[in-house]
Subunit: 519 residues, 2 copies
Amino acid sequence: MYITQGLKNAMQMNGSRVATVDGTRRYTWSELGSRISKLAGAFKNLGLSERGRVAILALNSDCYLQYYYAVPWAGAIMVPLNIRLSPPELIFMLNDSETEILLVDDTFVGMLADFEGKLESVKEIIHITDQEKPADGTHHFEKILNAADAIPDAASDSDDVAGLFYTGGTTGLPKGVMLTNHNLVFNNLNTLMMFDYSSDSVYLHAAPMFHAADICSTGSITMVQGLHVFMPRFEPEAMLKVFEAEKVTHTLIVPTMINMTVNHPLIRNYDLSHLQKIIYGASPMPEEVIRKAMVEIPHCTFNQAYGMTELSPLATILPSKFHTLDGPNSKIKSAGRAIPSIEVKIVDEDGREVPRGVVGEVIVKGDNVMKGYWKRPEETANAIREGWMHSQDAGYMDEDGFVYISDRLKDMIISGGENIYSVEIENVIYQHPAVASCAVVGIPDEQWGEVVHAIVVLKEGSNAEEKEIIDFCTGKLGGFKIPRNVEFRGEPLPLSGAGKILKNKLREPFWKGREKRIH
Amino acid sequence: MYITQGLKNAMQMNGSRVATVDGTRRYTWSELGSRISKLAGAFKNLGLSERGRVAILALNSDCYLQYYYAVPWAGAIMVPLNIRLSPPELIFMLNDSETEILLVDDTFVGMLADFEGKLESVKEIIHITDQEKPADGTHHFEKILNAADAIPDAASDSDDVAGLFYTGGTTGLPKGVMLTNHNLVFNNLNTLMMFDYSSDSVYLHAAPMFHAADICSTGSITMVQGLHVFMPRFEPEAMLKVFEAEKVTHTLIVPTMINMTVNHPLIRNYDLSHLQKIIYGASPMPEEVIRKAMVEIPHCTFNQAYGMTELSPLATILPSKFHTLDGPNSKIKSAGRAIPSIEVKIVDEDGREVPRGVVGEVIVKGDNVMKGYWKRPEETANAIREGWMHSQDAGYMDEDGFVYISDRLKDMIISGGENIYSVEIENVIYQHPAVASCAVVGIPDEQWGEVVHAIVVLKEGSNAEEKEIIDFCTGKLGGFKIPRNVEFRGEPLPLSGAGKILKNKLREPFWKGREKRIH
């Protein structure tokens, strides 16, 4: 199994059919395939080495899809960057991955100034732009593509790494998750099967395309020769417009986006009759939101999914049949159950399976388990034991095999579908000269699910305001990671016997009377 | 991916639901799992070695399914034997595979006398029987199962060989096709996806369970926790009865069986309203048969599939949407197109892809390609080149990627869904002392698609009757391979420049005005 094979089948079977719609721009599968084989040629012309890394920092577009296929077509490894990160975080990833070529679009080209002199391996930068002239020192995407000769597909091996997908880490440093061709295509097959994609499917890339959740459908829509539709970034009314204009049948968005959409005052002005399925995951879905969604788009079915980048990313799915608010089949509070050919177990600290209903760690085995963390053999060995990926999520399983995620073992906050590791933020706050100790926790928020809350104890005799701490973080961290509130405490933070800050204790008062249901 | 994983998921999710129906006998997934883990224990008690071979010669039953899972559960390799073969053919396979344990049922237990003294590696024989006492020198299936302790699943590696599936060979000797756990489960995922299996599916094992075509669904029905229903062997009215009694939704049968069923005088006495899909393949489907089938069971959809044991077995499928007799979508004469994540190409003798519409050899690449032929490295290297399985079938591809099988490069006859290699039969006929030369070809037959026709030239001064040649073959070959007719010729058989018998010349008069459309 390899990524470009799906594209080649699409060219073989449906060459003259429209493959992508980006605003007014449309390409058939033949045109798309031709552009991809030339873009791969352009990468090679720029000196891309065998298995070299090619990163992208861009909003959603058909160019992003061309990048997604051109990198493996050239026999190289993709590094799709999180668009919400700060320059220092991105610089770390570009250097850690030893990226050779970087693609940026108009939205992010301004960031190149911040990168200046700090990139250790990037040799060439490609500017994706509708302007005639690219930014100084960069190549024009369209021009180098058109100037290049098509090259033959590298037809990678199944076990070749296809991409590095950076995730935050409990150690504070982001880690590159190595997903192979096999991992990604296997996940595409599962997506295709569980979401009933067919050649009649019209999929809207509304969630950011760098994210594994959207990548599920990137491959599978191609494999069935459905239609890819792009919007640069999520915005509720813009999405409603595209739903109507392109007769969108499927999309994947996070609960925050569903909430903003179904509560949009103009939702009933749009024809949503073609919508068949909305897939969501990555963060908690409040019951009132899903209830409202099922009222506003009654003919649409919903699927909840659970996974993580390390799992390519899908592990469990809640089929529509069980996605009901009431009735004997209702399992809506669960994250679903194992996808066929994937195994899920709940185990105790010694790795023994616990009885049904008892909380333990969720572990997963299957062809979706990543190859490992890039250049992090120890962390890989810790995460994958005897083939089982240890999710660090706590949950239980009911008698019917449905999984309920109850909390995280790892110290993570999910805000608007983004994973945020507290330690990354704490590391920055600790750099402030006035800070003696600090702890970052997630607290409940109607719109975002959770938001970042920092609790700080100042050094004796030192002084700092909330705004000062927030400003200190800005630019060092992606905007979504900046603490929403900073709370100062006079007394020391509560510690465990081993001297670790007791986060549960700190979180407790904020979550009183609420369920911290997370998946 | 490994075979037993699907079973473990079924036990995890649907333990108390009925899994199998065999006559009046029903087992839940928990009971089935428990029996399988004990049967695996029984195999080990009998001395089965690591990766040892366990063969079965039996009609369809729930015990066959238990065998299918217990062998990999014990970390061993299955060898499901073709029930239509003669003792010498079966002895060859048992010895070639170095089988340690053989299972036989009441139908075949009498054949053990023929095996006496000729099995080189079989140490233990298990008799599947409802009788109290097993045949002499054999173990009683039910009793050794009940006496054994359950053992833990061996949880094989993806690339471990799961089974040896014998096919006839152009060299005259059957070859054991090595299919790995990955091959079989990957094929199950494809089957599941293309045939829309769900937990509501009720699948009837009507085609013989040793055959790769039925094995498609064996794994996938378990993976979705549908219901397995068994009938010992195909018989049209018995099948109609089971369709009604068990509310069967899916089955896979060969065209000959569809023909016998839809033309059965009592078909309208049975309630077939639950039938959703009939899958067929393995031999040509006459248009009048499929037309009649679509009239008799109008609510049922049909899928045609093309493959071969070496492809685990599925390569292409004709979706129901294109399975129409008329209209713009009609592709009913094609064998379908490549399944997602499998590649199909038509190439010339030098391996270059030919233009659409031009006949060449059908070659296939994907995770469904066998590991190789057991102990036949040369034949493996010849069949699989750069990852592409060379089917030896001739065909062409249309503009939409649909494949049309036009003839075989290899000298093969398909009769009632069974592959028959002419050379095997010729080898036997040549042993008759009166035969100077002979050629075996397939000639058209309304019921079986093709039947075996032998053309014989006798030695000067020798004499033989048709019956004598047929009797000579009986016992040496499976019944379906015995020539239906023997034609004697006075003149020498037509030869090519290289001295090879020109089979096409011999076949021609029989096929005049007919299309030899085969898949």
